[in-house]
């Protein structure tokens, strides 16, 4: 039995998404609100660093200073202990997870919007932004987000590694592929504990003590599935490079990894 919503349900959600007037409100309802709601659960699924991100971080010169824009639960915070990393994310829920699970000597986490980064221009040696920019709902805002990151980098030497979800998914169960609409809603199925229902039936154990029956009652709290939809713009081959160039950047390397397009970009 699949707990994923049907195609019809997703299409209906997409219709209501499309009627929302501004991109800001679209992202508020279909990105930020969702991440706050799924933060703890989402965080539990994020711990494996992607190889190219890991490599990028490990190859930074010792004691470089960097940003992690849209850091989520901070899963990249401790890859390299010889750098200073300031992570930021729109979701307070995820920043709480970052401080709880991944905080370390060499990093810190703050709540901030990628389009309004509270940092100096031209100061940082590097930045990463992993799986974040695809959550902006217009091309203009995605380019602006790259521009904001570039503006924080040191002029000649600063480098940013940026990942966005690819339309061309290799072996994904989701089966998205070329030719599809690039703007989609992706369901996140959340197990939500429901209020105790007044179920009286016994759960098969005989001779229960009072204590045991309380335990049973707690187990009866039915776990209900709740689906949250996140908005994504899936990047076509070449599109991320193009966005970065429109943002005024020079792409020094790019590729495809784990169903994502990535670039390493610096200021022109």
């Amino acid at each position: 039995m699949s707990s994923r919503p049907s195609k019809e349900v997703i299409e209906k959600e997409m219709e209501s998404f499309n009627t929302i007037e501004t991109p800001v409100l679209k992202e508020e309802l279909f990105v930020h609100k969702v991440y706050d709601e799924i933060a703890e659960h989402f965080s539990q699924t994020r711990y494996k660093p992607w190889p190219i991100v890991e490599k990028f971080l490990i190859t930074r010169p010792d004691y470089s200073i960097g940003l992690d824009v849209g850091c989520g639960n901070g899963k990249y915070f401790n890859v390299n202990k010889k750098i200073w990393l300031v992570g930021s994310d729109r979701s307070e829920g995820l920043i709480k997870c970052a401080t709880k699970y991944n905080s370390g000597l060499n990093n810190d986490a703050i709540v901030a919007d990628g389009l309004f980064l509270p940092h100096h221009d031209n100061r940082f040696d590097f930045a990463i932004s992993i799986a974040v920019i695809h959550h902006f709902s217009t091309e203009e805002r995605r380019i602006e987000a790259i521009k904001r990151i570039l503006s924080k980098l040191k002029l000649k030497t600063g480098q940013a590694l940026i990942y966005c979800w690819a339309l061309e998914q290799e072996n994904s169960r989701r089966g998205y592929k070329e030719g599809m609409d690039q703007d989609i809603l992706v369901p996140w199925v959340l197990q939500k504990k429901q209020e105790k229902r007044n179920k009286k039936e016994k759960v098969g154990v005989k001779d229960e003590t009072v204590k045991e029956s309380t335990t049973n009652q707690q187990q009866q709290e039915s776990k209900e599935l709740e689906t949250k939809m996140r908005y994504y713009h899936m990047y076509k081959k070449g599109e991320l490079v193009e966005n970065a160039e429109k943002a005024g950047g020079v792409v020094i390397d790019h590729g495809y990894e784990k169903d994502n397009w990535w670039i390493i970009v610096k200021n022109a």
Binding site: L105, L117, P118
Partner: protein, 130 residues
Amino acid sequence: MKFLTTNFVRCPIKACDSSPDSFPLKFQDTTLIQEEQDFNPQFIAAMLERLDWPAVVSVASDLGNNSLPSLKPENISWEDQENSQLLKDLHTLLLETKIVEGKMVCRNCHHIFYIKESIANFLLPPHLAS
């Protein structure tokens, strides 16, 4: 928020971008805790080079610490025994001092950002986020 981080954040409001007053923020009504951390003198010496020292002095003073020299200690080699106390003190200030509650005020636009339960929040109200 760690003390060190105060050296890397400023007011995010566009109109303050070019104002020198958007950094450092002014810290008010703060609650601090000291959290013990491993001491890595090499890390501290490297950070020292990258810090905006007047901002360190300013924020320290906001937090009630007026003991810092007004000029940045220069050429501090971490291997030099002579520097070990200085680096230890800086370690205590920069990495072990955490602001758990408080306000951060932009000296240019006077907007107030809050720190709650150790988390600094720089999100803007809708009318400023454009």
